[in-house]
Symmetry: C2
Subunit: 275 residues, 2 copies
């Protein structure tokens, strides 16, 4: 990061201070943003330069890639003296599923939702709730109820179920969906995005790699906060939740920091850029 | 009951054996069937003769009337040397509310139902569920959820709420709505109604008071079982629930045992009937 432009460093510093980004997760963000297609590959060289701009050491990247291969997210292929990395079909599926939630300017939620309900006694499906929760698609309400998008699934595994298109969400559910510390993180992210937009407004165009690295740091910060709660309409969040405001600012930054084609990325990665 | 016709005695015996009817509740049935209008009154004489046919002693009736007055169900007025008894506005309201559930040949349930949900922690409305349950309109599911007819009430008192018109009811909820012992009572009632219909089919017309007393015993037996569970569509009951069959037989008996006008009741009560 030492060689980067002052504009990049000022902006990147905002998104990398505090809690350090997990490299594993950052690489998932990179592939999800740049290389979601089945033919898409990123060279080790380009990947090193991008994560280098984010303050990550080559060894940390190698360890993360090893883990991602082991977890079935990433495949790596030898190519001459280097490597090419790509998402596995599993990794592409996960990225495709997460993508609308991250990038869509306007979120669309289904009209119909469903609740699955266990009893509080023996043989009333309490263990079955867990199996639905593991899909990550459900909001828990207390210990007996989960709520998920769309119509009732075909097999309720012994749970009671109802479909609904009208609900009322009390404070205690809103506070569970987005507790005060997550609200504070949302507010901090909104401030960060405002500051980055201001920095970019006062500066010229960034070199390609820096533009992409800053884009990826922005996506990553947004993605991290977004996936700390279930994917729910605004009425499930406390009053003053700045989620919609963050989304609008995030989308503006995505326009200010457009993505790059993979050939242009590779070209930028091998030729030292003129700053 | 000793003076009654053999037909009456055979039929009434079926409905009065086993668990004895509570007199308080039987008088509620009588007024709910015969005297639901604001101008309707039943004399002490007529009431004594009716409950006498049901095997209830005058002292027990007097105690029950005293209790019913104290509870705000019944008012009594002096009339010459006797009394006239009538439902209070409260009693009329309660009777009017229960009436469709008892007498309607085809039950109509709302399309929309609602669930009220508490959490499992502090300050998540657990106490508030109780206040809704006390209305008697709700099915409880476990300790966190109640389900009631119609749209969400305007004030949820801090509970989460959803509206629904599609649900799936597992065995354990069906068994809670109608446990095995209640299923057995339903089956026994169905048998009883079949036997009474057979007895009446082989006999001539009953004297007015006996016809009305037998009608009231039938209503009472049906009402007692009906109000042991919440008022819910058939899908909430276990497979083989004979609730619809009982309702059909009950309605047939109501036609075989038509009601009486209050003047005709009073006339029958003062004149010893020719059997």
């Amino acid at each position: 990061m030492e060689d980067a432009t002052p504009t990049y460093r000022a902006a990147a510093e905002i998104l990398t201070r505090g809690e350090s980004h997990r490299v594993w997760s950052l690489i998932v963000t990179i592939f999800g943003d740049l290389a979601r297609g089945p033919e898409d590959r990123i060279s080790g060289t380009a990947l090193s330069r991008l994560v280098g701009l984010m303050g990550i050491k080559p060894e940390a990247m190698r360890v993360a890639l090893f883990r991602l291969r082991k977890d079935g997210w990433i495949d790596s292929q030898r190519e001459g003296r280097g490597s090419l990395h790509l998402l596995t079909p599993f990794g592409r599926g996960q990225s495709a599923e997460a993508s609308p939630r991250i990038y869509d300017r306007d979120r669309h939620f289904p009209d119909t939702w469903h609740l699955l309900i266990s009893g509080s006694g023996e043989q009333t499906g309490r263990g079955q709730l867990e199996s639905f929760l593991m899909t990550g698609d459900y909001l828990t309400i207390g210990t007996q109820v989960v709520m998920g998008p769309g119509p009732l699934p075909p097999d309720l595994r012994g749970l009671a179920g109802v479909e609904t298109n009208r609900w009322s969400v009390p404070d205690w559910v809103q506070d569970q969906v987005c507790p005060p510390e997550l609200m504070a993180q949302y507010r901090a992210l909104e401030d960060d995005l405002v500051r980055i937009e201001a920095i970019l407004a006062g500066a010229g165009d960034l070199p390609t790699l820096e533009r992409v690295a800053l884009r990826l740091l922005t996506v990553h910060s947004w993605r991290r906060i977004l996936f700390r709660h279930p994917d729910l309409p605004g009425s499930f969040f406390p009053d003053g939740w700045p989620g919609e405001a963050c989304r609008a600012r995030f989308c503006s930054l995505m326009e200010l920091l457009p993505t790059v084609s993979l050939p242009d990325l590779e070209a930028a990665a091998v030729i030292p850029e003129s700053v």
